[in-house]
Amino acid sequence: MSSFFQKENLIKYLLQGAASTSIFIVLLIVLFLGKEAIPFFSEPGISNLFGTTWKPVSFKEELFGILPLISGTVVVTIVAMFIAVPTGVIGAAYLSQVAHEKEREILKPFMELLAGIPSVVIGFFGLIILAPIVKELFGLQTGLSALTGSILLALMAIPTIMTISDDAISSVPRSYKEASLSLGASKFYTLWKVTVPAAMPGIVAAVLLGMGRVIGETMAVMMVTGNAASLTLSPFNSVRTMTATIAAEMGEVPFGSEHYSALFMVGLVLLFMTFGLVLIGQRYLQRQEN
């Protein structure tokens, strides 16, 4: 009998260990990023971080202002979410409540296929096909703009948002819907005023996950946004995102230099941005539950 309990305890610990690896890994990553970024505080100094110019390689003066990088990430993310959230949520509502079984059988696999396309391939498509179209359509100097990046990112976020929202909407209890319909509400009214609001926590989670993907995406963005580090809030300008900066510059940077610690600083800021996002989302969900 005792050996049975020992076995059970052992398994319990193993499972506990497996469950807490994610916490452990996050802590390690924060520690590592922090350790490499710390030199930045003394040399060149934290105030440099809030400058408006990112010019890490220069024979004259190296500047590490990350505001243009933050603005780049923010612009690209906001525009991408403007495209992806309505499309994703409306699509999910349609898929789970309106579409016929046959339609669903076709649409759903294709959605999942879209989620599986590697981001380099999407970036390549953006560079060759989408960028010239955006350039022509909006009469821009170049198609390599924040907008092109946003459209590609929206393509990548839509499957995430749609699949998870679909699950959330499908799992709303039938009784809600039936109660609404029996009170004489139309099918459409029931969908928008009863079913979708009831699924809101799941939809918020879906949007947050989609947003996480958008902020963290690197390759496709790097290929189509032009990567000019100018401080701008216009989606028609070329922007340089934080992820693209790290990816493009990390390979070249001399070990232990100011530029090196600056890149880790960028990573740290990015991490805190996504962390904040998750926090806000959880707050919102808690309030919903109360």
């Binding site: 024979f59 560079l127 100097q141 170049t142 990567n227 390979g251 940077v253």
Partner: protein, 286 residues
């Protein structure tokens, strides 16, 4: 049920440890393989050498990776590669770091490369002086009209800062000035030529090897020098007439073994240099 879980756990642990030990073993046997890391410009050239060399010497194992000249030099400093392929000279910061780490290396010129300035075929300009190029890339000149072209805004394309070409162009053409903040930084030579192909107002620079087959709508500019206009080509780079040219380098770890030396000798041999010309770079043989 319980037994099954335990068995599964045991299996996963043993598989995991095999994988981990496999990983560490690969590092030990690294000495029998020559590793070359660095310049993206040179990847094509170096891997062609490696292919031919391995065909000639069946026991030889050579691994070639890109990532940028800086990546290669960083790898030399971290002792993770035998040869760093670099399209720029080592920086002062890097050589002091090497000294502090007690790492020695030698520098060998293995070929030459010209940097071609490319524009769209629709552009009426066919030659520019180094000074005009400097003004364009630093952002002092923003309209093609100012250098004798159409009344169109200039779209400046540069390579990312991890590219040796970026630093070389900045040193030689921009005379160490900064690129304009509005310059679009392209992650690769092919995405740069692709953009020039699509955009009538774009100007950019790529290695000579890339400019030759860049696309139907890409045109290579001549450079206006005191001795007349010079188009980049194998002859003009070799003779030194074309001003935007650079040596392609191997930085070799001082502790490198005979296999590494044999490969470099092959690269410098007549046969090796023939490959250089075939690929579109300029051989250093007479």
């Amino acid at each position: 049920m319980n037994k099954l879980t335990i068995n599964l756990l045991l299996i996963s642990i043993s598989v995991g440890s095999v994988i981990i030990s496999g990983c560490s073993k690969r590092n030990d046997s690294g000495s029998s393989m020559v590793t070359i890391k660095g310049s993206d410009t040179m990847v094509h050239l170096v891997s062609s050498w490696a292919e031919k060399y391995m065909a000639l010497n069946p026991d030889a194992e050579i691994s070639v990776t890109g990532g940028g000249s800086g990546t290669g030099i960083a790898a030399i400093l971290n002792n993770t590669t035998d040869i760093a392929a670099s399209s720029r000279s080592i920086k002062e910061k890097e050589s002091t770091l090497a000294e502090s780490k007690g790492i020695g290396f030698t520098r060998t010129v293995i070929a030459k490369d010209g940097i071609a300035v490319v524009v769209n075929i629709a552009n009426e300009i066919s030659a520019l002086s180094l000074e005009s190029l400097r003004l364009i890339f630093t952002g002092e000149v923003t309209n093609w009209k100012q250098v004798g072209g159409a009344d169109k805004e200039i779209v400046v394309l540069s390579r990312e800062s991890n590219s040796g070409t970026h630093v070389f162009f900045q040193k030689l053409v921009l005379r160490k000035d900064d690129y304009t903040q509005g310059a679009l930084l392209m992650p690769s030579s092919s995405s740069l030529t692709q953009t020039v192909n699509d955009n009538e107002n774009a100007i950019g620079y790529v290695g000579l090897g890339y400019a030759d087959n860049a696309g139907d709508n890409v045109k290579t500019l001549s450079i206006i020098t005191p001795d007349g206009n010079v188009i980049p080509s194998e002859e003009t780079v070799k003779s030194g007439e074309y001003p935007i040219a650079r040596p392609l380098l191997f930085y070799v770890n001082a502790n490198a073994n005979g296999k590494v030396k044999a490969f470099i000798d092959y690269c410098l041999s007549e046969e090796g240099q023939k490959i250089v010309s075939e690929i579109g770079y300029v051989s250093i043989a007479d």
